[in-house]
Symmetry: C2
Subunit: 326 residues, 2 copies
């Protein structure tokens, strides 16, 4: 497609201004105004997506936008916060056409509608390198009701929402690294990698229930290790209890050594949290009312570190618990 030439201000006017919420002042001012609901604190987080690192140049721009947004919404959910608005920056090669930007903005528009949020501001520039995108998301939480990583206590049960490992297998599929998997399962796994579903409804509902929470972006065990470190506790996870989708189950059947790796793959964007045993019934009820599986996968103990337990109670040694950039 031939790049159109709207220019920097034209792109803002055509593609981004229609996304602007109250306080964004039509994206024509130096900064945006933001109210905090009475009795609430704001919650702020920021994430990046770099072409060639977080996504590929040929990926659909609307999905790139949605994934970046949803990764941030997942961070808000992990604090128990309700999403409100966001700012987005784009550093794009000068050769990148308006069409790409239009489709990127369309992805944001669709997810704004889905999650009830609006654009507050942003910045666009050119770059001699690969595209580089950031998104700052803002939410709110009733004052004192935020869920931190630091509150896990020995005796707490460890729970995780949804299913684990789909995105990890999905990425392997997209890379052509999975051969023995029935076709019927391929699409759902790839979709799970391309487009996570942040648990924006569950997160705020866990205020007063979860002692500590994090979203699974680096990998179930790596993220649980963050909770353990910040809380000064240890955790044990039973691999057999880690919830798998039918597709992931089929992949494990075809390639058993894959099983423990699913607990170290990233991009799940599920919520993992610690809660007192007395909360079991409440959590089960919440799972039912949201129609979202929440599985009890382990136990918080005194000590440090995360252990993964396999068949017959044997500990599974893992080379690396999660992805790091450096």
């Amino acid at each position: 497609m031939r790049p159109r030439r709207l220019g920097e201000f034209g792109r803002i006017r055509e593609f981004f201004a229609p996304l602007a919420g109250r306080g964004a002042l039509g994206l024509t001012d130096d900064a945006a105004l933001l109210d905090c609901p009475p009795g609430c604190q704001l919650v702020v987080t920021v994430d990046q997506a770099v072409e060639g690192v977080h996504y590929l140049a040929e990926d659909r721009p609307d999905l790139v936008a949605k994934k970046l947004l949803r990764r941030n919404l997942s961070d808000l959910a992990a604090m128990g916060a309700t999403p409100h608005s966001y700012l987005v920056t784009t550093a794009l090669p000068a050769t990148r056409g308006d069409d790409w930007v239009e489709r990127f903005a369309k992805g944001l528009a669709e997810d704004q509608h889905r999650y009830g949020i609006a654009l507050l501001g942003g910045d666009s520039t050119s770059t001699p390198g690969p595209a580089s995108l950031t998104l700052t998301a803002i939410g709110h939480v009733p004052t004192g009701r935020e869920i931190r990583r630091s509150g896990a206590q020995p005796g707490d049960r460890i729970w995780v929402s949804g299913t684990i490992g789909d995105a990890f297998i999905g990425l392997k599929l997209l890379r052509g690294e999975v051969r023995r998997l029935p076709n019927e399962h391929r699409a759902s796994l790839a979709a799970r990698f391309r487009l996570p579903e942040p648990r924006t409804e569950l997160g705020p509902r866990l205020a007063g229930i979860a002692h500590a929470m994090i979203d699974v972006s680096d990998g179930l065990l790596a993220d649980l290790a963050h909770i353990c470190k910040t809380s000064g506790v240890a955790a044990t996870v039973e691999l057999a209890r880690v919830p798998l989708s039918p597709a992931a189950r089929a992949a494990v059947m075809a390639d058993p050594p894959l099983h423990p790796l699913l607990a170290t793959g990233g991009d799940d964007y599920e919520l993992v949290f610690a809660a007192a045993p007395e909360a079991d019934g409440e959590i089960t009820g919440l799972s039912q009312s949201l129609g979202l599986p929440i599985a009890k996968i382990g136990l918080v103990e005194a000590g440090a570190g995360v252990r993964l337990i396999g068949d017959l109670g044997r500990e599974i040694a893992l080379e690396r618990a999660g992805w790091r950039h450096f």
Copy 2:
């Protein structure tokens, strides 16, 4: 210098965690908590710095950090907001050593102290391209007292703080494009390009005085044009009244065609604003109490567009009013 190998989390712990303010939760959580002072609204803005576009790979990392931060503080000032906190993202080549990051963080630390702000959060990743940095700044303004671009009225006077054109000449100097300038003036002009001084004290003091305001980042005339467009008015600026530093004056003496270009150069980070003629005394008083020159440079009129007037009232035609990225 040999790159150290702290890793992603090590860099956060060593260099960025010491900058974390209240609400940042030691940078160990998914998101940060943010209170809004009673009776205030929050003001949010974001800007990028891309290596090879906004700065050069060999530039001092502490100055890169400060300039990025100050560009954002300038945006807050232009809304009449007082700065409070910020989030920063870095996408860095994998070869970039810890030393660079340490010096980058040191620049932030110094400016945090200078401006009374603190780090709330961020994100770090690797990139196969040039370094790409973003900074989201958050401030606050008494509710209803923000200064927008849209309030300029015919009859208003146009004012600008400080001096104009220094950064423009400074950049030309650094590129070796200025030959006939006495050495005594070179350092101050280059410094002005490398490190702006956002008018964080003046901005909030203009609440209730300025009808419309913007900071000069794209160029005096281009930014004034934003005010005119958003306010639905025209503006006339007298070149002879545009305030120049002694160094800029010397550069214009040596190269007279440079003079009108100073009103189109960017990176001044001064505040340009429109105010009723009745406010003249108040503005002059403010200028004296802050020890900061504020010059009356023109007039708001009915109509559209910005005109630059030279000697004998002749309009000066300019090819381009300011820099655009696309």
